[in-house]
Amino acid sequence: MIKYGYIRKIIYFSAIDGPGNRTVIFLQGCNFNCLSCHNPETIPIFNNLNMENTEVQLMSVYDILKVLDKNKSFIRGVTISGGECTVQFEFLLDLVMNLKKHGYEVYLDTNGSLEISKFQQMLHFVDKIIFDLKVFEEKEHIKLTGASNRKVKRNIKIAAVSHQIYEIRTVVIPKFIDNYKNVDKISKFIASLDKNIQYKLTTYRQQGVRENLLKTNSPSKKQMSNLKEICNNNGLLNVIVN
């Protein structure tokens, strides 16, 4: 049976979603509801196209392969992002299997909340994972995202064992939580798995975020470099600030 997915957008060339030039496929729908979400329009989960949105398209794996075909010579690989790409699990699995079959390097950009067994299944067909680990403490995680982070941490551990983590990202949001503590804990956690894992601290920017959910501002450059120092002190070797 042909599977269809709800696709929010395809970016043909991107330099910021993994190594090399990549085509990025954004799947619609997310199981979190982050106050800090930069693309809140990607959150609603679609069951049919009658939902009021003309920007989401229903595409088959074949449709996507066709779009990728003309790009193939100019990209290193494909990154699948969201929303949260694993929300459309069946479709995603079919997609990544086919992408691998056609020789693409496949990365997933995920919030890491997929059920463990499904995640393990998925790992067979992707090269690397880009994780968001937004907050370390579960309670605070629920406050920001509406969901627990237990599975996230477990999945990170699993992917670390098979060396399939490309990057872990944390957005630094001033005032909302104690970022020093949060980054300290996350970096210790990552270092305990593998000091070489790339950890990216992203500067929070108001732009695109739903207004009034978070009354805050962007962190200063100084704050960001202090946080980076914490990570380095905790033993991480690849820390990026952006």
Partner: protein, 493 residues
Amino acid sequence: MSELLDIIKDKSLTYEQRVLTLARYAEDQLNVLAIDAETQNLRDEGIICDLYEGHAPYRPRYIVPDYDKFVKNGSKFLELEPPENLYDLLNKLIILYRHVPSISSFPVYIGNIDYLIDPFITNEEDDYKFIKYFMQNIDRTITDSFCHANIGPKETVAGKLILRAQRELNTSIPNITIKYDEDVTSKELLYDSLKTTMVTAKPSFANDKMFRKEFNGDYAIASCYNGLKIGGGNYTLVRIVLKKLAEKTENYNEFINELLPNAVNNTIKYMDERIRFLVEETSFFKSSFLVNEGLIDISNFTAMFGMVGLAETVNRFSKGRFGIDKEADDMGVEIIEKIYKMVNEHKNEYCKAFDGKFLLHAQVGIDDDKGVSPGCRIPIGEEPDMASHLNQIARFHKYFPSGIGDIFPFEETYKNNIEALANVVNGAIDTGVRYLSIYSSNSDVIRISGYLVKKSEIEKLRNGDPVLRDTVVLGRGAVDNQKVLERKVRGNV
């Protein structure tokens, strides 16, 4: 006479620019070329255009000296022994550059400078300083962006020092091309080149395999992006403004079967006449020391048959849009193939470099072209996504050994992901792209059509201040008339 006085009084010209403008004015008082009435009509209509090459050509448009020979033998005429060390070499090259004419009176090719310099490198850090002074000297004395240096395809220490100097100097001159072959060029040199072009809009990338095959060995990239034989050059460049020709009819059949062949034939005749005058009646090939000392040889010369405005021509006749719809692109290919075939059937006895043939050239346009896209380029503002764009241009690049190229500004984010740019360049070359240029959308040095100009200098000129480099004037025209600052920026689309 008042025109003459205008030139003398013009506040925006430097002394040197004034002298050259006066010389051009003087040359154009002559009427020595035998041009028949039909050709003259086409010239008057702006369909055949010699790009103000002058009414009495007294030097080849582009000269490509064999600098290796100069380094080996020195020059009797210039009273120079072969160079003995790096400083000696750089000094002597600068002396020679001063004596290499061209249409703009500045040299349009200054050598595969990495290969020239590399054997003289003894101490990287000390030598770097000399190379930087050398590059700075070129930028300030050869004040014309059509001056072109080549590097590669092999990695050398000198090549990397040259790129480093470019990143630091951030100047528009010389234009630089890396002859790039994935199987020969090191990854390090490719990455270094990409890093440099995101800072200072050069080097551009030439498909080395493709050029080498057509030129049966080595070649030079001179002026904008023109492939020419080393130790030779190009006599003349005359272009057909296809758009203006197309405007004479509503009927594509009439265009392709009557108007176009007629214009091509007249252009060829006109080029033959320009070459005849230059070779037979002027003293250039009889007295120039470049010829006498074998730094150039008439047997390595050809001429360039140019064209512009394919996009507008196709859009006039096709139901589709050029660059977007296949049927429109197919029509574009048909037009170019027709020109290619006719031009290749013609033989000129003085064009021995390619068995008497002229080479096709996708001309980049001049500053006062309005609504005419360069060569076979897709109009600015209508560019498709980059993958489609590269696939489209590859269909045309193969017809133009003496020059065609496309330009892609990239988002800043690509500065931090050089591998991504390498993916694009390698993919493009594999697809059959001959020549491409990349720059960062927010650099000061930007690529206008083939040459480079600083945005800050265009602003100076706008304020009525004289500027050192003559091409800034062209750059301003292109910014105003051809919207070059509005090219589609690549990445995140």
